[in-house]
Subunit: 339 residues, 2 copies
């Protein structure tokens, strides 16, 4: 029921993903009549969808605290509960981000070793894609939490891109004098010295290196991470506006742009935010994916695809083991005193 459109985007989106992954099966939570109407246009989905009716929904304007208090039994809640109970492997929602995050924490619970879950974004680069986390689950992060993010991001990278030892960088600022705050410096020291990590630590990266694809995983606390993500999206939109204005300013430009339309088509595909739609909540006992609320069916399909890839890998089991081993190392370093 979530997002700006509800079942009218969610069902067609799931249908697109079903073509790509015929093994998919769906539980659809929400207004049964409305879901049935949406399914009428997708007869191929009939055998793959089970509808679980509920009248209760979380609205896009609900405060997370309200949603958690009053949202028990809502479509969002029931979807997460299905993951907790093993009836589903992934929950995908286009609904209220804050509510989904708060409910996910409550229903799925953080993994034993994890102090704080994080939201991971898939970030397009000139090479392929990288994973950036945290992009907004929390503000600030301790050194230990930053290290956990590194392991969580590496696990996700392994699941999605099949790299055994993903390269990881800590996002930092470049001015010599201040080179990062104490949390970032300490996390750097730990990641550099810890042996046997299931990742290849590359040190600090700066904001302009993310899009160059210098590492598979970029780790940052959630305030700066969210700002970086939004700023990149905004800059892409801004340049798109410049480009349209430049290509329509004279007849000659218009003719040229028409002839080059194949190239512009490729460019549009490259820059299409629907291709990398889906923020993943990492560090919980189950997978929850947040699709952009305003996306269309193609965008929602990307979020479902992402969930499929993550469920297919045994990401969470592997991650639990990795975290255990790493925290063992830190304990030996005497580093696990509460910060």
């Amino acid at each position: 029921m979530g997002g700006d459109h509800g079942p009218e985007v969610v069902i067609p989106g799931a249908a697109i993903s079903l073509v790509r992954h015929p093994g998919l099966r769906f539980l659809a939570f929400g207004d049964e009549a409305r879901i049935r109407r949406a399914l009428e246009h997708h007869p191929e989905m009939a055998a793959c969808v089970e509808i679980v009716h509920t009248d209760l929904t979380v609205s896009m304007d609900d405060k997370p605290s309200q949603a958690v208090r009053r949202g028990k039994g809502s479509s969002m809640w029931l979807a997460l509960e299905a993951v907790r109970e093993g009836r589903a492997q992934v929950a995908v929602s286009a609904g209220n981000t804050g509510a989904l995050m708060a409910m996910s924490k409550l229903v799925l619970r953080p993994m034993a070793a994890i102090e704080r879950p994080a939201i991971a974004a898939i970030w397009p680069t000139v090479r392929s894609e990288c994973i950036v986390l945290d992009v907004g689950a929390n503000i600030g992060a301790s050194s230990r939490q930053l290290c956990d993010f590194a392991l969580m991001g590496a696990a996700m990278s392994r699941a999605l891109f099949h790299v055994e030892k993903p390269s990881v960088g800590l996002l930092n600022v470049g001015v010599e004098e201040i080179k990062g705050d104490e949390m970032v410096k300490q996390a750097h020291a730990w990641l550099k010295t810890s042996e046997g990590l299931p990742l290849s630590y590359q040190g600090f990266v700066e904001g302009d290196q993310i899009g160059q694809g210098v590492v598979d995983v970029v780790v940052v606390e959630g305030f700066a991470g969210n700002i970086a993500l939004k700023t990149a999206e905004g800059t892409a939109r801004q340049i798109g506006q410049y480009l349209r204005a430049a290509m329509t300013r004279s007849l000659m430009s218009k003719v040229g742009a028409y002839l080059a339309r194949g190239g512009f088509h490729i460019l549009r595909q490259k820059m299409d935010p629907r291709r990398a739609n889906g923020g993943t909540f990492l560090g919980l006992n189950g997978i929850a994916i947040k699709s952009h609320g305003g996306t269309d069916s193609l965008g929602f399909a990307s979020a479902v695809d992402l969930g499929y890839d993550m469920a297919e890998s045994s990401l969470l089991n592997r991650l639990a083991a990795d975290l255990d081993a790493f925290h063992g190392t830190l304990s030996k370093l005497g580093a696990l005193q509460p910060e």
Copy 2:
């Protein structure tokens, strides 16, 4: 002597700026012989430049602490000293950022009411340009410091863009649950309630709104601000790479791109990082401008132009009065206890 090129870029850059502002006069600090050679190609500069020789320079690799310890008498130091002593109104350097920042603080000293200076960047938007600060002078900022940044940014906006009451936004994250850390929330409360401010406070803005030009001044602490700036630069470069690849992938695209070259020329100008070159150190008793180290003469000219505009306005006097008034208001609110 600073930057990747030294006088061979600085002198031609100053010459470009002299054409735009014939009233400019320069003090050039550094290796006299090398400066004289660079001046040979610019006879029009002869009457406008006074050379002050020194053998000592700060290198791009010097740590700021080293530079401050050993840099007394260097070209960078002497330029800042000239500002302190009123022989120059602005110091412009393409040298080591950290060193310039540390030396500026030491030589020019923070203004009486200012706890922390900031670096302000000029950020191109779809409307025109806005000012973003702090982009990396410090990590973290208290609520009071964020408010001071708002006043400093407004003063700069007034000087450069001649808006009497510049609109100001606080950069924040959009997830309801966490809506900013305590420092940002408190700064928001103060800016919202303080009357008679020489700015029009607009509340929170998110990363994707900076480039849309929704406000004249964007305020953020230096870690996230630096990451936002670098991420925007990186995204612009990334899209430029996509665009080049897309326009050269087929003969038809190449022909189209050739016909549309007028449009691409406009686009290149829009995206040219040399147009908005120059980070300004705000909050000191004097103006210091940092040009990108790798820029060419056109880029250096932008930094000189920026210095000219700032010196021409009576920015610093006005700012001192604004800060005084605002701190008076905060005192009445009982808000100036040390944080």
